[in-house]
């Protein structure tokens, strides 16, 4: 059982790190701001989600688990709002000649 949980943690956290790496790569390599935003939010949402999912079996206490999940939800919310705001600012700038 412990071995299975260890493997689960390793797989999930590694997958999360891969998403962060891919997101960073996208941020550096994608051609325009909108696609870069897309890469960034994917990294935050999926990467952090997988890291937290992987850490859940290692914590003691349900409350800490809720806190971790809550942190992820807050990051989802702020990421979504920030990318919307940046995208809107970009669109307004492009509309103006």
């Amino acid at each position: 059982m412990n071995l299975a949980l260890d493997i689960f943690t390793i797989v999930a956290v590694t997958a999360g790190a891969v998403f962060f790496l891919a997101g960073t790569l996208g941020l550096l390599r994608f051609p325009d701001s909108l696609t870069r935003l897309h890469a960034l939010t994917k990294a935050d949402n999926l990467g952090l989600g997988l890291v937290i999912l992987g850490l859940l079996p290692r914590i003691d206490g349900v409350l800490t688990g809720f806190k971790l999940a809550f942190v992820w939800l807050l990051v989802l919310l702020s990421g979504a709002v920030a990318s919307q705001l940046i995208a809107r600012a970009l669109r307004n700038r492009d509309r103006r000649p």
Partner: protein, 313 residues
């Protein structure tokens, strides 16, 4: 493995510090500084200084970052002119020599420290239980070094007076900052409605656990101030005119309560800011409760800036 991570962290910190110092664009330097603050938070976590890490994240990265972004966007119009006005080689070399001399003097001082360094940690650890506060950082800040904390709060009031004093005469007594208008159905207004209830709970929680765990009034007040900023920036509420009496009373209320408790200590325990035995924890809680609203107001008002608009009647 952790040594490699720590070395990477230290190298990144130095690189970002160099970036923030040498970067030609103001905005790029500010972004570098914010990233530097966030990495410094990680460094404090690695050093087990969770309280300092929380403060660094909230004030060093977050609040100072927002302050600097505001300054950079105000300076944007004059940035090219300022850059064209580059000082001559003589001035720059004098500045470089002075900076290098200060760094060298600091390095000599650090290396001249006796080893092991003189420390009061043992005595503090032996006596900390009389404060009945579980978090040693809070106990030290409000019992053994209460004078520092008091002066810190007073310095912030002076800083805010300094910011306000930049107001033009016509706007004196008016509302700080520009009038923010955002789409009432837009994303910013949405987050400014959703986030503050969560932020207020988190801010008060961080304030309250400061007695026994990492946290405290400064970190909590920063989060509350951030919520207020969000509401103002989304155009849902306006800043209060600086001439409002409730505002001024709240701004000096925290430090005054602190001083009053200090004077009570002089009467009841024989020294300014000393606490009578057995009353340390309740008095510390009263001081924290009194300082929290003052700090929240000061931190937010510093970001709102100097009064710019006349108060509408």
């Amino acid at each position: 493995m952790t040594a490699v991570l720590d070395a990477g962290l230290a190298l990144l910190l130095v690189a970002l510090a160099a970036w923030a110092t040498f970067s030609r664009g103001t905005f790029a330097a500010v972004v570098g500084f914010i990233a530097y603050g966030l990495l410094l938070t990680l460094a404090w976590v690695r050093l087990q200084g969770i309280d300092v890490a929380l403060t660094e994240a909230a004030i060093g990265g977050g609040l100072t970052g927002a302050l600097l972004i505001g300054a950079a966007s105000r300076l944007r119009a004059t940035e090219d002119a300022a850059r064209a006005d580059r000082p001559g080689a003589f001035t720059r070399s004098i500045a470089a020599i002075a900076a290098a001399a200060v760094t060298a003097a600091l390095a000599i001082c650090v290396f001249a420290l006796p080893d092991p360094a003189p420390s009061l940690a043992q005595e503090v650890a032996a006596n900390i239980s009389v404060t009945e506060v579980g978090n040693p950082i809070t106990a030290v800040l409000l019992a053994f070094r209460a004078m520092d904390t008091l002066l810190e709060a007073i310095v912030l009031v002076f800083a805010l007076i300094g910011v306000w004093s930049l107001a033009p005469d016509s706007a004196w007594g008016g509302r700080p900052g520009p009038l923010h208008r955002a789409d009432p159905d837009g994303m910013l207004a949405y987050i400014a409605r959703v986030l503050p209830p969560i932020g207020i709970v988190v801010g008060l929680y961080i304030f309250w656990v400061g007695a026994d765990h990492p946290g405290g009034k400064f970190q909590g007040a920063t989060i509350l101030a951030a919520m207020w900023l969000l509401v103002v920036m989304a155009g849902l509420a306006d800043t209060p005119p600086v001439s409002r009496r409730w505002l001024r009373i709240a701004l000096v209320g925290g430090p005054l309560a602190f001083i009053a408790i200090g004077l009570y200590g002089a009467y009841a325990a024989g020294a300014f800011l000393a606490y009578p035995l057995g009353f340390a924890k309740p008095l510390i809680i009263v001081i924290e409760l009194a300082l929290m609203p003052t700090l929240t107001l000061i931190l937010a008002l510093m970001l709102f800036g100097a009064p710019q608009r006349e108060a509408r009647r």
